[in-house]
């Protein structure tokens, strides 16, 4: 082996890389929030599809299935070059945000749908017949159970969003991976940079899993944890 590892340039850039990992967390967090909101809407639309489908329901089903059955990178390219054909030019940050939100919404919609459908109708009726309003029923009875059901898939989706945001490198967004590539291209220390970045991602993922477990333990402890 006649290769000399040079870690010095990477160590020197460590503060920059850690700052860039904040961008990674930011874009992942935003796309998860958007993904939850849109995913809920899509799930509600899809669950109400009985018999004849309205255009709105077609829209929801198309969104969910395209998000789940095409590569994320394809979805990013679509928001990147595809929209360009209509004269819409998104910034690299917006491309990543739009692509990840689109993807997360599709996956989360199916998780939410599974969560809602696992609650029997009779619970809703029982809650209404003891005098709860529709809002109270959802707040006290339905949502807590659904939240517990989707807690694990939601955590996975958050981890995925962080991992997938690395594709920002390919559309010119300088999050953690993108900036690592930028710094590496100036020093040709590609392996060293990406090894350090891999460690940072690993630490981020473990932190998220730990936070989710602790929060889940607090939220669901009356029912014996997650």
């Amino acid at each position: 082996m006649d290769y000399n590892f040079h870690w010095q340039p990477v160590i020197g850039r460590l503060p920059d890389l850690l700052l860039a990992s904040l961008d990674t967390l930011q874009v992942a967090a935003l796309s998860i929030v958007l993904g939850i909101v849109i995913g809920l809407l899509l799930a509600i639309l899809r669950m109400n599809a009985r018999g004849r489908w309205t255009p709105l329901q077609w829209f929801a089903v198309a969104w969910i299935e395209i998000a789940r059955n095409t590569p994320v990178l394809f979805q990013l390219f679509f928001f990147g070059f595809g929209l360009g054909a209509w004269g819409w030019h998104l910034s690299p940050f917006m491309i990543v945000l739009a692509g990840l939100s689109f993807n997360c919404a599709g996956y989360l919609a199916e998780n939410f749908r599974g969560g809602f459908q696992s609650i029997p109708d009779t619970q809703y009726r029982a809650a209404r017949s003891v005098g709860m309003s529709a809002g109270q029923t959802y707040y006290h009875i339905i949502i807590p159970q659904v939240l517990r059901k989707v807690w694990h898939p939601l955590t996975n989706q958050i981890v995925w969003a962080v991992l997938m945001s690395s594709l920002g490198m390919l559309v010119g967004y300088q999050e953690l991976t993108g900036s690592a590539q930028y710094f590496a291209s100036r020093t040709y220390r590609i392996f060293e940079y990406f090894a350090v970045v891999a460690l940072i991602y690993y630490a981020l993922v473990k932190l998220i899993l730990m936070a989710s477990r602790m929060l889940g333990w607090r939220l669901f402890r009356s029912e014996g944890g997650v």
């Binding site: 082996m1 290769y3 394809f74 981890v159 991992l163």
Partner: protein
């Protein structure tokens, strides 16, 4: 001088060839990765505490680091240790390891889903360990997680798009090349997307129907 030219019939051939490469690299990775993943998944159910912890920790690394980073790392690692791998070999290696990490988890949960009572019953009927495996545990346990395995396989097909960063001309990279030349992003991306969709959607649907029938 005209730098750009419209979409031609032979471009479709170019895309089809690239789609074939997407199928090839994901097929090889899914095939080898699933076999090794089956073995590792089984190991996770029979190893002792320490062995299980170590194997899990190693497999977990590949699930906790972006695939893109894994590809770039491996591709750059081989020249360092003295021999170089082409984009196809490096991409296949990384995708295979990634598949192993995912499939071993699926296999483990499948094997663990077989109730100990059922296995004890089999053993007390006089079946040997391997007969119990072959006739009871595999058919029951692996069938239960078959839909999950289809999900893993489909995600590997989709993730194979990332091998394009190493310069391997699979479907998505081919479509990018064509977009640069023809300046027709919408139609070309639609074709590429339709290919992935046509492959993934029916299989995902079939797996979920199978799962529903199995649940009854």
């Amino acid at each position: 001088m005209d730098y750009f030219s419209g979409l031609q019939l032979k471009d479709l051939g170019f895309l089809a060839e690239a789609a074939g490469r997407t199928l090839l690299i994901s097929g090889v990775s899914i095939g080898i990765g699933s076999l090794v993943g089956l073995i590792f998944g089984w190991l996770l159910t029979v190893l002792g505490r320490t062995g299980r912890f170590l194997l899990n920790a190693v497999l977990d690394v590949f699930r906790s680091i972006p695939l893109l980073i894994q590809l770039v790392l491996f591709y750059n690692l081989f020249p360092i240790i003295g021999f170089s791998l082409g984009p196809f070999a490096a991409g296949t290696l990384v995708l295979t390891v990634y598949t192993v990490a995912l499939v071993s988890n699926v296999t483990r949960s499948g094997l663990e889903s077989v109730s100990p009572d059922l296995r004890r019953a089999a053993r007390s009927l006089g079946l040997s360990y391997w007969q119990d495996m072959r006739h009871i545990v595999w058919p029951v346990g692996l069938r239960a997680v078959f839909p999950a395995w289809v999900g893993v396989a489909l995600s590997v097909v989709k993730d194979s798009a990332l091998v394009s960063v190493l310069g391997y001309v699979e479907l998505l990279r081919a479509s990018q090349t064509l977009i640069t030349r023809t300046q027709e992003p919408l139609i070309i991306l639609a074709i590429a997307g339709a290919f992935y969709f046509a492959l993934s959607f029916p299989m995902a649907r079939a797996a979920s129907l199978y799962e529903k029938r199995w649940a009854q």
